[in-house]
């Protein structure tokens, strides 16, 4: 055996390997997959958090099903929680109390499940924002973006349905609002509601049905989508940030085996630990304090889970001014627009974005190197405007609490949010774009002149200047990624000055105008060579002299 040969595989392992390979011919594929490379960057862990919290949801959810009884049959509680003994309630609520007080570790599992749900949706959102701002949704990854939007949508629905299962007061109110929104749909609303609820609200069917959706159908679809998401990711590989050696053709990072598997494993345990720590020390959804659902009472100041907040807020903000009747039949825009329209706008907008952007810029190239957000100012500004819109909706969902805490008139807060919902995104767009362009200018400066070292030197003329130093090769790489970004597709005017037929049509005109608007303000990096500026100071006298002339 030569010295550099790997140690022979232990017999048992060889046995297993051969057993599998005899049946599947996997040696080559297996090696290829174990060699898969994962770029090193913290922002790639956001999607991992989502995956790990989903796994935790599956694990804890299965435990909850062992005791949870999804029935709306009436029962009188006689479990060990004294305060509610003798109170009439549904079996669903009674069994949730049972999990909380009569199953050891039951409260912990419930709280892990709930915290994991909150973190699952939160990590999806932040992961999506990362993908959006770095342009990682661009060709060839549009399909995975669409799958992501579907996962996000279903996750919210799944969370809403889970929140509804324990049949405590807030959960019943959530179901009521859901039913109210269904009812508002013209023509089919009442039918949808009657079919979904098996009759009028609340009926006796809704919890068993939501239960089926919550533990079987939606998790099944989510699992399939997540599997598809990962298969595509595996095949196309991650995007990577610009840097040395990282090109459109080659991905650089940590290989699956042995390093990434161990890193990722560790990160799974960290995620699990954080969620369990929250569940152990921070109370969440104390259903025993809320009491069972009754359709006749409510407590004020109720807050839904955070991911429903934007819907709650939009329902609060949107006025009834635009409601109208057609021959006595009501079109209830005050519910339809905020209850369904805003959701449609959010998810529809997200889904459409990659295609809209590609249509505007005409850029149909394959992109594996991620954009720095500043280098796509209009996209970044749109994203920030979108976050602002969402954030205003979300905050408006707590306007009663804000009004109470800050002693502001309740209706004044509503008005503030109504106005800010329109102004906020516009301001955010302008400011974000400005900041991006400013950063571009600074980047160009740095590329040409090196970075400001913070050291001050006195020139022979007595003048003080800051010493610029050469940026590292890595920095130069990153900065140079701004070059050639702005893509000019086929020219719309041919050599004879005749416009191409496509660009003469109204759509073509609109498109070229948008394309111009999309990139017009970008700082040009054309022809900028690293460190060609005259402001470099290496401490030599000659160079100081040179600066002095400027």
């Amino acid at each position: 055996m030569s010295d550099n040969q790997a140690p022979p595989a232990p017999k048992a392992l060889r046995g297993v390997g051969n057993f599998i390979d005899d049946r599947f011919h996997l040696a080559k594929t297996g090696e290829k997959n174990l060699r898969k490379v994962f770029p090193n960057h913290w922002s790639f862990m956001l999607g991992e958090i989502a995956l790990y919290s989903f796994i935790i949801l599956l694990l804890t959810g299965v435990f909850l099903t062992l005791w949870f009884n999804p029935s709306m049959a009436h029962t009188v509680y006689d479990g060990s929680y004294e305060r509610l003994r003798g109170v009439g309630m549904s079996e669903a609520y009674a069994s949730t109390l049972h999990i909380t007080f009569d199953v050891r570790g039951g409260l912990l599992i419930r709280q892990i499940h709930h915290w994991a749900a909150l973190i699952f949706v939160a990590s999806l959102v932040i992961h999506m924002l990362r993908v959006f701002f770095t342009g990682a949704f661009r060709k060839p990854r549009e399909i995975n973006w669409l799958i992501g939007v579907a996962i996000f949508t279903l996750a919210i629905v799944e969370g809403l349905f889970g929140y509804s299962l324990p049949d405590d007061l807030p959960s019943g109110m959530g179901v009521r609002i859901f039913q109210g929104v269904l009812l508002s749909i013209p023509l089919i609303g009442t039918y949808l509601s009657f079919f979904m609820f098996g009759g009028e609200f609340p009926g006796e069917m809704i919890i068993p049905r939501l239960y089926m959706l919550h533990i079987l159908l939606i998790p099944g679809i989510l699992l399939a989508l997540i599997a598809a998401h990962f298969m595509i990711l595996w095949h196309q590989k991650h995007t990577q940030y610009p840097g040395k050696g990282r090109t459109e053709k080659k991905v650089v990072g940590t290989p699956m085996f042995p390093a990434f598997a161990i890193k990722a494993g560790g990160f799974f345990f960290f995620t699990f630990a954080v969620i369990t720590g929250l569940a152990g020390f921070v109370q969440i959804n104390p259903i025993h304090l809320f009491g069972p659902f009754t359709p006749t009472s409510i407590t004020s100041g109720l807050q839904p889970d955070w991911y429903m907040g934007f819907l709650e807020g939009s329902l609060r903000m949107f006025p009834n001014w635009f409601d109208f009747d057609i021959g006595g039949y009501a079109i209830i825009t005050g519910v339809l627009v905020p209850g369904l329209g805003f959701m449609g706008l959010l998810f529809g907008g997200l889904a459409a974005w990659p295609f809209v952007e590609a249509w505007i810029t005409g850029d149909r190239r394959v992109h594996n190197v991620a954009d720095r957000p500043r280098n796509a100012p209009v996209r970044t500004a749109f994203g920030v405007a979108g976050i602002t819109f969402y954030g205003v909706c979300w905050l408006a969902g707590s306007n009663d609490i804000l009004s109470h805490v800050f002693q502001i008139n309740l209706y004044a807060t509503t008005w503030f949010f109504r106005i800010f919902l329109i102004l906020g995104p516009i301001l955010a767009f302008i400011i974000a774009k400005r900041i991006c362009l400013g950063l571009q200018r600074r980047d160009r400066e740095t590329l040409e002149h090196g970075y400001e070292s913070g050291t001050i030197t006195q020139l022979p003329g007595g003048e003080f200047v800051e010493v610029h130093k050469k940026s590292s090769g890595e920095t130069v790489h990153v900065l140079e990624s701004a070059k050639g970004k702005d893509y000019t597709p086929e020219p719309t005017v041919d050599a004879n000055g005749v416009e191409s037929p496509a660009s003469r049509k109204p759509m073509g005109r609109l498109r070229s105008r948008l394309a111009h608007w999309y990139t017009k303000d970008n700082v040009s990096f054309d022809g900028v060579e690293p460190h060609t500026g005259h402001h470099l100071h290496h401490g030599t006298h000659a160079e100081k002299e040179k600066v002095g002339q400027h």
Binding site: S2, D3, N4, K36, V37, M72, S80, Y81, F101, D102, R104, G105, L107, L108, Q111, M173, I177, V181, L183, S184, T190, F194, F195, F201, H235, K237, E248, K250, V251, V252, G253, P255, F257, A259, I262, G266, F267, F269, F270, A273, T276, G277, F281, P295, T296, I298, T299, S300, G301, L315, R316, Y329, A330, I331, G334, V335, N368, D400, L410, T414
Partner: protein, 369 residues
């Protein structure tokens, strides 16, 4: 792979400085650098210039720290079981977590030990990855997109030949009848949903309130007299008296019939009340549906000085002195009014059903049948 005579050096003595070809960037924390030539003096599965091995000293330290974490994880895991069994069931079969305080304590102990155990495993694995494993900067090609012209051409030719041979393109009768055959099957699952619930018909437009039905305070079976509401500004949530005192009202009945009974100074009724609406009141007592016409929360808050009813969900505000018309917020229409009168014995009773369908506004809520 070829010879590597330094193999044993690396394994045997960490203190002996290993011969290294310098030229590759060194990773953080004093990591030693692998050789420039991927095939010389290198044992790893990836090319040496893409593998930044840690020094033996770092690795040894990492091993010890990781092991310490794993040990902590083990102990915390044992602690989890100890916590679990420290809360044994009571003699009568109830586990002793029944008390909310103890439930909280059990939760902290179980959660705390589990957290520590999970965290320590995570920490150990991270130390392993960062101090024992090399730092990798392995590069690997992205897939070439799209397929070459030849590949595409060959595929498309193959596919079209197959499609032709199958008859799918050439024999439209067969193709169309197959699609036709699929249509009913595709619809079947949707049709099967038909029996998930009854048709709405007019169910949403009426409630069980009727002339002469007594009102009781919600949550009791105490009938209400006009005198119970003698103080101006008082407000009571009420329900119809149940015909079946044994079981009380169903949830569905409660969700539709619940009302707010409000006592006002009759002088305060505003100009927007029609004569009919005034007739539906009794001595300043007016009844409105408690279910918000926006999306159905109980509109539970009443402000006596302004006569305003506020729904806490989305803050629709109704003016109780003016037929509960909407004065702020998203609701589409006023809260329906329930006509009230007093019977011979002085009890408050309904004088009929609500003036309009109760609850969230739906498409044909305003249409009379």
């Amino acid at each position: 792979m070829t010879d590597n005579t330094n193999h044993h050096d690396a394994a045997s003595g960490a203190d002996e400085p290993r011969e290294r070809v310098i030229g590759t960037p060194s990773a953080a924390d004093g990591a030693a650098t692998a050789t420039g030539d991927p095939h010389r003096r290198h044992e790893g599965p990836y090319p040496a210039e893409e593998t930044h091995t840690r020094s033996e000293e770092t690795q040894r330290k990492g091993e010890r720290i990781a092991a310490l974490w794993f040990l902590i994880a083990f102990l915390a895991g044992v602690g989890f079981f100890v916590s679990y069994f420290s809360f044994p069931p009571n003699a009568d079969g109830d586990p002793s977590v029944a008390d909310p305080g103890i439930a909280q304590l059990a939760n902290v102990l179980l959660g705390g030990t589990l957290t520590l155990s999970l965290f320590a495993i995570g920490a150990g694995m991270t130390v392993w990855a960062r101090q024992v494993l090399p730092h990798y900067e392995v590069s690997s090609p992205y897939d070439e997109l799209p397929s070459s012209k030849e590949e595409k051409g060959s595929f498309s030719e193959f596919f079209m030949r197959g499609a032709n041979e199958s008859g799918f393109t050439k024999r439209p009768l067969m193709r169309r009848t197959l699609l036709l055959a699929m249509a009913p099957l595709g619809l079947a699952p949707i049709v099967l949903l038909r029996d998930t619930g009854p048709l709405p018909k007019d169910t949403l437009k009426s409630t069980t309130w009727e002339d002469g039905l007594h009102m009781v305070v919600e949550g009791t079976d105490r009938r209400i007299t006009a005198a119970d509401l003698d103080e101006v500004g008082s407000m009571v949530t009420a329900l119809p008296e149940s015909h079946d005192p044994e079981h009380g009202l169903s949830m569905n009945e409660q969700a539709k019939t619940v009302i707010l009974l409000i006592k006002m100074d009759p002088q305060d009724f505003g100009p927007d009340m029609t004569q009919q609406q005034l007739d539906w009141t009794h001595d300043g007592i007016v009844a409105y549906s408690k279910i918000c016409t926006h999306v159905g929360c109980p509109a539970a808050l009443y402000e006596r000085t302004t006569h305003r009813i506020l729904c806490p969900c989305h803050q629709s505000t109704f003016d109780a002195a003016n037929g509960a018309e909407v004065v702020f917020g998203p609701a589409h229409r006023p809260l329906p009014q329930l006509p009230v009168r007093v019977d011979d014995e002085g009890y408050l009773v309904a004088a009929g059903d609500f003036s309009a369908p109760v609850g969230p506004t739906f498409w044909d809520a305003g249409v009379e049948d």
